[in-house]
């Protein structure tokens, strides 16, 4: 008894769960077994606080080939092709060691995509950091530099282009940065692989040797960052993109030659989760012989081997008779490929070391953790913030100055210093590179097809109104994909929230998921994969709920697509949607008034769907080559952004606006700017009328200035002055 109660303390498993373990086993677990439960029942692997809520998300759709439950979701894009995609968080490792934390995050999500039989064709990342001003900005700079370096280091070397992403600064992330990585892979529909194996098949371990890397990482990832985690800090996992590349090529070549029936990556909780989950999904058991596991260090105990998070490891299950070919293939690339286990009929995960059975646990018990449904309650402070009346906001003296301030603000300034460090073209498929459009476009060689991808989340909106914020996140990600001309097919979501065991934390998590569910239904977009990262809070902070939504869309004809830059002088500039935006939770409110309050803009999802359909229609007809959504910073910022790519200005005229600042900087969803030449203008307007959409011809492209004419006011900026304000804020962080 003593002997098992002591490890109970050391694992930190709550007594109630321990009793459940004993009930399921019909006996006391030994120390190793207890640790298997600890990692498998951790939030990261078991979703015990989020699973009941995630059931609310729509998961079916005409193009869905694989929904949540596998290593990544898969959607059909036609002509026998499909794309697999998923987002994954690496927040805590990145806070501990930004370079390696981010690098291994990228490596991990790439292996999830490989595990579906897909060749990774695009990487995205969604990053959240704290303050760029004041004494704490040093820490922020250190994290930004490290994380960007880590993403670049891994993605560039393994040869997968990093095509899109987002970086956002907010004080509430000061102690808890967020680093989520998304990967998209391309596969032939008939080569779709799953984490499955049939009876008595040998289970092969392929890739790097196992060392004491990141021991306890999966469990670690689900703990609040505290003084303690200093001492609990595992030996940092180091990513090796070179080894990752070899593992990638061996895995995909094995699939191409049809040598394997099942594929599974070794992600968080390495051997433990990959093997026990594969056995469980296959309705079988698995016997693992630890003596055969390739080891990097001597004297590793069974516990260390089972908890190790060494990177660049895969599990491959060869088809009968293909074992030798698989071993030869791995050898050619200089990789270990060792049969470390066998699929058995008895549904248990059995671990053997030096002839002894050191663990023997029903696979179902490991897979089916208890789940928790809790009572959520909104933080009253948020209610008060939301209720704040902003109608009496003082009017800034100099609106020209305000635009420059906005363009220079950390959340709106140029991202080039970040994405210039990423290889965004390797693979020669990137048809719309970062900085040129709202979403990236990656074409499929040998077809006219392409996919468009973008990840989005607005922490201010979510902080003030978690449900509405989540709806905005999906709406905006889909809008960004639509304005390049692609039809959104499905999405992946990275849910980053606080501690679900607190009423406020649970409220934010459940509201966020319910908001996503509502927006999914209204926009007809299913979720096919995702990730949950909870406990992003400490003694005196909690991050805003941050649902990072990655939308994938399809372009059936690459010819018909749009960029965001003005390209032809003389083209007319048309706005779809309302002129004025609102102030609640806007970037303008923060930058110009240092306020974060009010209610985020209302979101009419039916209208949103129509707006997105309309712009896609106009692009598909080949009438529109320039389109951009009006997001943070409002109309004026959107117009400035359209001037930058090709150094072409514009003149805009707006009559009888309500409040000039609401018109220039107010935010609202369902707004898109596009340009069209005179010949097509009337037809384009007709299309908008048939959609029943409000719209306005604002002005024309041309010159090297941005001019906005309003009653009694004439605002004008030279492009140099706009560019100067916009270009340098992040340059200074990433020289």
């Amino acid at each position: 008894m003593e002997e098992t109660l002591h490890p109970l303390k050391e694992t930190g498993i709550p007594l109630s769960e321990y009793q459940e373990i004993v009930r399921q086993l019909g006996r006391e677990p030994n120390r190793l077994e207890l640790y298997l439960f600890k990692v498998m029942w951790s939030e990261h692997c078991s979703y015990k606080n989020s699973r009941p809520l995630l059931r609310l998300l729509p998961k079916e759709g005409p193009s869905v080939l694989q929904g949540p439950g596998e290593n990544a979701g898969v959607v059909d894009i036609g002509e026998g092709w499909a794309v697999a995609f998923k987002i994954e968080s690496h927040n805590h490792p990145s806070a501990v060691e930004p370079v390696q934390g981010a690098a291994t995050g990228v490596g991990g999500i790439i292996r999830d995509i490989m595990a579906m039989g897909a060749r990774p064709i695009a990487l995205l990342n969604s990053l959240r950091f704290g303050k760029l001003e004041g004494p704490e900005s040093d820490r922020t700079r250190f994290l930004v530099r490290g994380v960007v370096e880590g993403i670049a280091h891994y993605g560039n070397a393994i040869g997968v282009p990093t095509v899109a992403g987002e970086v956002y600064f907010h004080p509430d992330y000061q102690d808890n940065p967020l680093v989520n990585a998304m990967c998209v892979g391309l596969l032939r529909v008939d080569e779709l692989k799953k984490s499955r194996a049939s009876l008595s098949r040998p289970v092969y371990y392929v890739g790097s040797k196992t060392g004491r890397d990141g021991i306890g990482g999966a469990a670690f990832a689900s703990e609040e960052l505290s003084e303690e985690s200093e001492s609990k800090r595992p030996s940092v996992q180091v990513g090796d993109p070179f080894m990752g590349k070899l593992t990638l090529e061996v895995t995909l070549e094995a699939i191409r030659q049809d040598l394997v029936e099942g594929v599974q990556d070794m992600g968080a909780a390495g051997l433990t989760s990959s093997l026990s989950e594969m056995a469980h999904k296959s309705g079988l058991g698995l016997e693992l012989n630890l003596d055969l596991v390739p080891k990097r260090e001597s004297g590793m105990s069974p516990l260390e081997l089972m908890l190790s998070e060494s990177q660049e490891r895969m599990v491959l299950v060869p088809r009968p008779g293909k074992e030798q070919e698989l071993e030869a293939l791995a050898l050619r690339w200089g990789l270990d490929a060792v049969p470390v286990g066998t699929m058995i009929a008895e549904p248990v995960f059995r671990i053997v070391s030096q002839g002894q059975i050191v663990a023997n646990v029903p696979t179902r018990a490991l897979a089916d953790s208890p789940t928790y449904v809790r009572e959520g309650q909104e933080n009253p402070a948020k209610v008060a913030l939301r209720a704040m009346d902003l109608s009496q906001l003082p009017m800034p003296q100099n609106l020209e100055e305000v635009l420059l301030q906005l363009l220079a603000s950390p959340n709106l300034c140029s991202r080039a210093p970040v994405f210039e460090r990423y290889d965004h073209q390797v693979g020669t498929n990137t048809a719309l590179v970062p900085g040129k459009g709202d979403a990236a476009i990656v074409r499929v060689k040998g077809t006219n097809r392409a996919v468009a991808v973008k990840v989005d989340a607005n922490p201010r909106y979510s902080k003030l109104a978690p449900r509405l914020g989540a709806m905005h996140a999906l709406a905006e990600a889909a809008r960004n994909v639509s304005v390049v001309g692609a039809r959104p097919l499905a999405y992946t979501d990275g849910l980053n929230c606080g501690n679900p065991e607190t009423p406020h934390g649970y409220f934010e998590l459940s509201e966020t998921i319910q908001g996503l569910a509502e927006a999914s239904r209204a926009l007809g977009l299913p979720v096919v994969s995702g990730n949950v990262s909870l406990y992003n809070e400490g003694p005196n902070y909690r991050i805003p709920p941050t649902p990072m939504v990655g939308v994938v869309g399809l372009l059936e004809n690459l010819e018909h697509r749009a960029e965001m830059g003005f390209r032809k002088a003389g083209e007319f500039i048309v706005l779809i949607g309302n002129k004025e935006g609102s102030f609640g939770g806007s970037e303008y409110l923060w930058v110009a008034h240092r306020l974060e309050a009010g209610s985020p803009p209302p979101l009419d999802l039916a209208h949103e769907a129509k707006v997105q359909a309309a712009i896609r229609d106009l692009i598909e007809r080949g009438w529109v080559q320039t389109a951009h959504d009006v997001a943070e910073g409002g109309l004026a910022v959107a117009l400035a952004e359209m001037c930058f790519p090709y150094g072409l200005g514009a003149t805009i005229e707006i009559r009888n606006p309500a409040r000039p600042d609401a018109l220039l900087f107010g935010e609202a969803p369902g707004r898109i700017l596009f340009t069209v030449d005179q010949a097509k203008l009337q037809m384009a307007v007709k299309v908008l009328e048939t959609f029943g959409l409000a719209h306005k011809i604002l002005g024309q492209v041309g010159g090297d200035q941005l001019t906005i004419l309003m009653p009694k006011q004439r605002l004008q900026w030279s492009l140099e002055s706009l560019r100067a304000a916009w270009a340098n804020t992040l340059r200074e962080v990433l020289p």
């Binding site: 070179f242 590349k245 020669t428 090297d704």
Partner: protein, 234 residues
Amino acid sequence: MKVAVIQFPGSNCDQDAVWALQQVGLKAELVWHTATKLEGFQAALLPGGFSYGDYLRAGALAKFSPVMQEVRRMAERGNPVVGICNGFQVLTEAGLLPGALLANTNLHFTCKEVFLRVERTDLPFTAGYKPGQVLKIPIAHGEGRYYADSETLERLEQNNQVVFRYAPDPSPNPSVGEGFNPNGSLNHIAGIANEAGNVLGMMPHPERAVESALGSADGLPFFTSLKQALEVVA
């Protein structure tokens, strides 16, 4: 005619090179770095990427690959040998081209469009260009700062072995403002040839600029030139 695209462990622009060569109707095949024969190939292309992870130094470990002896023989026989990005680094490390490529002065990997002036059009790779023509071609590297001691540099210039030089953006509203030399290369060198002119190395990626749908087709003549050169010998 067939071009061997050498595949080192860690190469990642190998398929892109094959694609670009095929765009101009050249046959191209991947050849694994352990190959000890390059029979049946009229030219070799060392692609971009991170051979051996670029560990220690870009190209430092790839130069030991068995296939390099065959590449050397090809070069000596006068067949066209091209190194792009990491391939250029491997060629200098292997001594097939003079000089070396050091860490960019900005100390980080840089991926963006740059502009190149064509300094020589009498080579199998550049016959399709006009003298002094300025090309828009992307770069993507962290170690591209061309260095050679002053004598070597002088010799390069005298034999005009400098084939491509970084140049300012010629367009009316230039996008490349701050310094057109992206990595601190001496004499703005982006690509050089050996004395015989059959071995060429360059940091920018012509294979990424063969389709206007992807931003630029200025790299296409590079491959069409190579094709014509090979047809002449054949």
